[in-house]
């Protein structure tokens, strides 16, 4: 009985409605937070930051954002890459236009701008449903990428068409630009992940989250019981795009530093984030993290296995990676369509009873 709820009594309403109702979960959560905030920054090095932890944290934000829209509100979106590009370019324009303002404010503002763009592209969702909507969001993807490629104002008329993040400090330490220490990159991403996850968790269990889920489960029925579909769908698009925009801003300014829009925010990125929430689990904040971790870790692990252990040429390993990612996605969908989050739930059920069968 490693995982138990017996003897875990609640005496107040606050205790009853907290995020982690079980004591063991709460301990686990605080231990994770302590390790993430107090241990990892001191042991992190460049390799771990740039190939695993920073991309994981950034994709986790994007996955939370998409999960709000797709998992909670049921509107499938293939425009994530485009919205990330909005966040990145908004952040770039703000950074270069107002160099004295703190970068943290810029990143949040970039999220806000993306939210507005997202809400605008969410308008057709009131008429279009299902696959037609999924394909319609591709319009956002292609149009936005084209826009950032063609309109020179967005990249400050630079000759290469790229955008480069200038150096910006937070509390005296560089967080963007080439001389950023690994732990600073990690900490700024961790800060945003923590805040975003908290906001998302509390939004999704409040009134607004319930109205999203009602729309997802059956939109006409939801409308009849008094959920305003216009409000629910547009807020879902706006909140989702807010998170995705923050992820895009971090992806550009903190992680990559220099970005070419078609390459960094193409359609592949949209699919990648969608895979994350499918494999992680639709409608689950934990699932967003699990999916992001899985898909960030998988290529690194496969590359290590193929190139370093087996000694195969890298192009062969890259092909194998496609095969394995594709096969794993199909395997997961067949075996567990509700993703890693569901596996975790089942594991908890088992652990509650262990070692007794009933």
């Amino acid at each position: 009985m490693l995982y138990r709820e017996a003897g875990d009594f609640k005496t107040t309403y606050v205790a009853d409605s907290q995020t982690f109702p079980l004591k063991l979960d709460r301990i686990g959560f605080w231990v994770t937070m302590a390790v993430a905030w107090l241990v990892i920054p001191f042991v992190i090095n460049d390799y771990w930051a740039s190939s695993l932890l920073v991309p994981f944290l950034i994709y986790a934000i994007a996955a939370i954002g998409l999960n709000i829209l797709t998992g909670y509100c049921g509107q499938v979106s293939l425009g994530t890459g485009g919205f990330m590009a909005v966040g990145a370019y908004a952040c770039y324009k703000l950074m270069t236009s107002f160099p004295d303002v703190n970068i943290m404010i810029h990143i949040v503002l970039a999220g806000g701008i993306t939210a507005m763009v997202g809400a605008a592209f969410g308008l057709p969702s009131l008429r279009i449903k299902g696959f037609y909507l999924a394909v319609a969001t591709l319009a956002a993807q292609f149009f936005l990428v084209w826009l950032f490629n063609k309109v020179a104002w967005f990249y400050n008329y630079s000759a290469s068409g790229q955008i480069n993040a200038p150096e910006r400090l937070v509390a005296g330490v560089a967080v963007t630009g080439p001389s950023t220490p690994a732990w600073a990159q990690y900490l700024i991403c961790l800060f945003f992940v923590t805040v975003c996850a908290l906001i998302a968790r509390n939004l999704t269990r409040g009134t607004i989250g319930r109205s999203w889920m009602a729309i997802r489960d059956m939109d006409i029925a939801a409308e009849i019981i008094g959920v305003n579909p216009l409000k629910a769908k547009l807020t879902a698009f706006a909140v989702s795009s807010f998170f995705v925009g923050i992820a895009g801003a971090l992806f550009f300014s903190v992680y990559l530093g220099a970005v070419e829009v078609g390459e960094a925010f193409g359609i592949q990125k949209s699919f990648l984030v969608l895979f994350m929430i499918i494999i992680g689990g639709l409608g689950s904040i934990f699932g967003s993290f699990a999916g992001a971790a899985f898909l960030v870790l998988l290529p690194v692990a496969l590359k290590w296995l193929g190139v370093d252990v087996m000694g195969w040429p890298t192009d062969l390993v890259a092909h194998f990676q496609l095969v394995i990612v594709g096969a794993l996605i199909m395997f997961f969908l067949i075996k567990e369509p509700h993703g890693l989050a569901q596996l975790w739930r089942l594991a908890k059920e088992k652990l509650r009873l262990w070692p007794f069968p009933y």
């Binding site: 499938v76 057709p124 008429r127 279009i128 449903k129 299902g130 696959f131 037609y132 999924a134 394909v135 319609a136 591709l138 319009a139 292609f142 149009f143 990428v145 084209w146 490629n149 063609k150 059956m218 006409i220 029925a221 009849i224 359609i267 699919f271 969608l274 895979f275 499918i278 195969w312 040429p313 192009d315 062969l316 092909h319 194998f320 990676q321 496609l322 095969v323 394995i324 990612v325 594709g326 096969a327 794993l328 996605i329 199909m330 969908l333 067949i334 369509p337």
Partner: protein
């Protein structure tokens, strides 16, 4: 007639021919969607895979040569023979049928009754898988597909029409390959319609598309029909792959034609074969005309990437089921 007007007509004609190619890809989508409710994102990669297989078989490449060499340290790459075009096409078709069977047996049979979005995600996984397998089998270098299709502009059309305009008009430039593609597409569509109207299997296919339960209860094997439909989609993919491959070489970007076909589907409706064709033509003409009249002069060009989507989006706002799609009736 003024030269500008004639150039406009030339753009429209070329748009129509590009539209035929879009329609060809969209057709594969519609076939599978109608019969099984699966929105098959892998259609584009199927076209790539079939074109790769065709090119590989014709030049006598050893499948998985790269992998075998890496494991056993050997140095093989070609059998040293060339297969004639027709035999290679038949072999490729056999490969596509085997592929269809595998897809049905190992993936979608286990996903019957799942939500459409799950099925859609599975086809994206399938697309990744197939792309990887194609690269592993035949290598990822760009291949040329020489199946004897004519190349370049048609001089005959150019000569015949050069008298229409003034001195600065040299006649319509129309790609011969596009003309062949148009003819092939018309034959293919006619064949498919004849197949679904006049053969036993075709009728069974339409029955399955109508109602799975009812089809099962009159003794139609769903498994067989689904394999059949995936094979037909493989055939359509092969034709599309040959046409596009002959145009721009067999390479990864070939799989992106699926993205070209999506707005066509939205416009025409996911469930309608005539819709796919009309949608393809509208999108083809629309994006070429938009690029010629507005995109290139005022917006800096390359509008073809998104115009089709925006057009389809605006259209759907007014008619959510597409041009010819089945009317969406919602009940609570």
């Amino acid at each position: 007639m003024s030269a500008d007007f004639l150039y406009g007509i030339e753009v429209i004609i070329n748009g129509l021919m590009a539209g035929v190619l879009y329609a060809l890809v969209a057709l594969g989508f519609v076939l599978i969607y109608k019969a099984s409710g699966i929105f098959n994102y892998a259609q584009g990669v199927m076209a790539l895979f079939s074109a790769l297989t065709l090119a590989g078989i014709m030049s006598g490449q050893v499948p998985f040569a790269h992998l075998i060499n890496a494991i056993f340290g050997t140095e093989i790459h070609h059998f040293g023979w060339n297969v004639p075009v027709l035999a290679a096409i038949i072999l490729t078709l056999i490969v596509m049928v085997i592929f269809a069977w595998c897809v049905q047996r190992f993936v979608f049979r286990h996903l019957v009754g799942q939500e459409p979005i799950i099925l859609f995600m599975a086809t994206i996984g399938l697309a990744y898988f197939l792309e990887g397998v194609g690269d592993l089998m035949w290598g990822s270098d760009i291949k040329t597909l020489a199946v004897g299709l004519p190349q370049g502009g048609s001089l005959w059309v150019e000569d015949a029409t050069s008298g229409l305009g003034g001195d600065d008009f040299y006649g319509f430039f129309i790609d011969k390959l596009d003309m062949v593609a148009t003819v092939v597409a018309i034959i293919l569509v006619a064949g498919l319609i004849a197949f679904s109207q006049y053969t036993k299997q075709g009728r069974a296919m339409r029955a399955v598309a109508d109602d799975h339960q009812a089809a099962l209860s009159v003794g139609i094997s769903l498994n067989f029909i689904w394999v059949l439909v995936w094979s037909l989609a493989g055939l359509v993919a092969l034709v599309a792959g040959i046409m596009w491959g002959a145009k721009s070489g067999v390479q990864f970007s070939l799989s992106l034609i699926a993205l070209k076909a999506l707005p066509v589907l939205m416009l025409g409706g996911f469930t309608s074969i005539p819709g796919a064709i009309v949608g393809g033509l509208i999108i083809g003409v629309g994006e070429k005309l938009f690029e010629y009249l507005i995109g290139a002069p005022f917006l800096g060009g390359a509008t073809e990437n998104w115009f089709a989507y925006v057009l389809a989006l605006l259209f759907l706002v007014f008619r959510p089921q597409g041009l010819f799609g089945e009317r969406i009736i919602e009940r609570v």
